[in-house]
Symmetry: C2
């Protein structure tokens, strides 16, 4: 038997871990990093072999893994658990924690996941994730290390941890919802601007897609990729300021109209100038029609003095322009358009970035 | 002297409070509610008479109150503390917690705030708020109740609480930054659409302002007010789809042009339709040209079957149209425009809402 003092000290140590954990993870708004950090901590504290977090899909009335750690985590992620089925389904339905010291002795135990993943579950501790009185998911740890069993003490601690996980997941969702709202809103408005001219319908969205082909090959950094995405969405927003009679002119533009049209990167930059958090993207947008040889507009910048993101958008923009119909010419097929990019790389376009685009585009669209 | 056991139990109780507190406040993304909840909890745990949280203003190189609780909280809020000055300034500059059992014996003590608020500080416990290695502010509790002094135990606990406060403040700021980004971005693009026609420059922003005059008189609910704001910003976004030659026509429109122009609420609604989180605002936007008597467009809805927010926007929109120049007429002065609203209330406009608008507008713009 343990003495009272060592019991109390143990309790303090575990509570301190909890306080510590909550500090680490309440500050993370990226849900993937967050859950991995949280559940790593949970496994440590609970001395568990594996862990998972499930989210309820209300429409489909089932649960899906949002994270699964441990040997068979990857395999598990593709499985869905019906509501009410198994330990996890029971916890989701009843909104109560559940301690199952030996799964073989519990009739609720659902072998489905073990069967598919070839993982052997011995014991489970599962708690509901509750936000504002509503069950949003379930967190569980599996198999206490050293062939021991989870006990009531573990349950109490994991339930507290579950509360923290629930709030953190909810915060991360709120943030990600707002982020989606922001992107989809500017995208919807820009698409409406593009759609005014049947020849440019969908243009900005395709430029985003092409720019991200290059971006994803260059970096895994989410902030940098977000910067590319937002700059690409907004690169032509200044066309709002170009009169219809120039924008939709069926023939070639006069010199004067052309000059006015060439001001659209400035107009785009001017629109985002008052937006504090987007200001730093102005140069990406302003310079997407510069050329490596300095013969572009508006400033005749050369080479690396053109911002990287502007050089990326320049390639994406030109490729989409070549591969869509214009009032005065038919579209080129993609093979010819890719060759054109290569022909003009080093003069109009950044050579290295064209190389990346051609290779990534060809990977995704095998001829 | 206290026994070891009671010491340990006391420590457990305080740690449990901390775990508890972190659950309560890490889930709140509204910074005002958040800080009030956090600091109330802090005062309780620390048995303090008052508390404040300061944020560093890097540009002005000083600190300002973001919350101040206690008798003199309201007075305190208007004061700014120079960086490096007083206990709070010292903590901000050094990034270290500070326990001052008796302020009269500490040379760093700055009487400025007490003097202005007529509050008497006896002891202070102040901790830096640190996020990713950077000091973003300071939290403090003042005067331990019952004429006692804060001790090292209090310091340890408050420092842990400080870490939680820092993360929560940072999360709330990130959320609020993104929210501002969302609103300012759609606003900037819509303003660019308005600015295409010199006669409608600034229109959507003024409609937001007028709609919120009514909204603020109806409710304090932030979500409802946000709904009014976003609907008002986007009410005319569909004008993107109206050709320049109709939108900017110097004379009266033909019947056919008029019919096309009257489709702009549908176009506006169509633009936001694909945006999951804005879908529920479609009806507010779609029906801002309906009339109470059913003679409006597009659906001839009557009375309360017109969504409340659409009725609000209808009034705001008409008032701005009347009080700005049009190609074919000069603007009315505001007194006459308000009278017009009243004349047409009960037929074109919602009577109660016109009453509120006229009274709120007159309060803010005394003749």
């Amino acid at each position: 038997m343990r003495s009272l003092e060592s019991d109390l000290r143990r309790k303090i140590a575990r509570l301190e871990t909890l306080v510590d954990a909550s500090m680490v993870f309440s500050g993370i708004l990226d849900i993937d990093i967050l859950l991995d950090t949280v559940m790593q901590k949970a496994e440590e504290v609970m001395e568990a072999e594996a862990s998972s977090v499930f989210r309820i899909d209300e429409k489909r009335h089932d649960l899906y893994f949002i994270t699964a750690r441990g040997e068979k985590g990857k395999e598990a992620k593709e499985i869905r658990v019906p509501m009410g089925k198994g330990i996890v389904g029971w916890v989701a339905e009843h909104g109560k924690p559940l301690l199952v010291p030996d799964v073989r002795k519990d009739s609720r135990w659902f072998r489905g996941v073990d069967k598919k993943t070839k993982w052997v579950t011995r014991s489970i501790l599962a708690v509901p994730l509750i936000v504002k009185g509503k069950v949003i998911g379930v967190a569980e740890v599996l198999n206490k290390k050293g062939d021991r069993k989870f006990d009531e003490d573990d349950l109490e601690l994991f339930a507290a941890l579950g509360n923290q996980i629930a709030i953190a997941v909810e915060n991360a969702s709120l943030y990600s919802d707002l982020d989606k709202l922001f992107l989809s809103s500017i995208r919807a408005i820009v698409e409406a601007v593009d759609a005014k001219d049947p020849y440019t319908r969908g243009h900005s969205s395709r430029v985003v897609e092409y720019a991200l082909l290059i971006g994803n090959a260059l970096t895994r950094d989410k902030d940098r990729l977000k910067e590319i995405e937002i700059s690409a969405i907004l690169h032509d927003v200044g066309k709002i300021g170009i009169p219809d009679k120039i924008l939709g002119k069926p023939g070639r533009l006069t010199r004067r109209e052309q000059k006015y049209m060439e001001r659209h990167p400035e107009f785009s930059a001017a629109i985002i100038e008052p937006i504090e958090l987007l200001k730093r993207l102005m140069r990406n947008i302003m310079h997407h029609h510069e050329r490596i040889d300095g013969k572009g507009y508006p400033d005749g910048l050369k080479d690396k003095s053109i911002p990287l993101v502007a050089r990326i958008i320049g390639i994406a923009d030109a490729f989409d322009a070549m591969t869509t119909d214009r009032p005065y010419r038919k579209r080129k097929n993609t093979r010819i358009a890719l060759r054109e990019l290569k022909t003009h790389s080093g003069t109009q376009f950044d050579q290295r970035l064209v190389g990346i685009f051609v290779s990534e585009f060809s990977k995704q669209n095998p001829l």
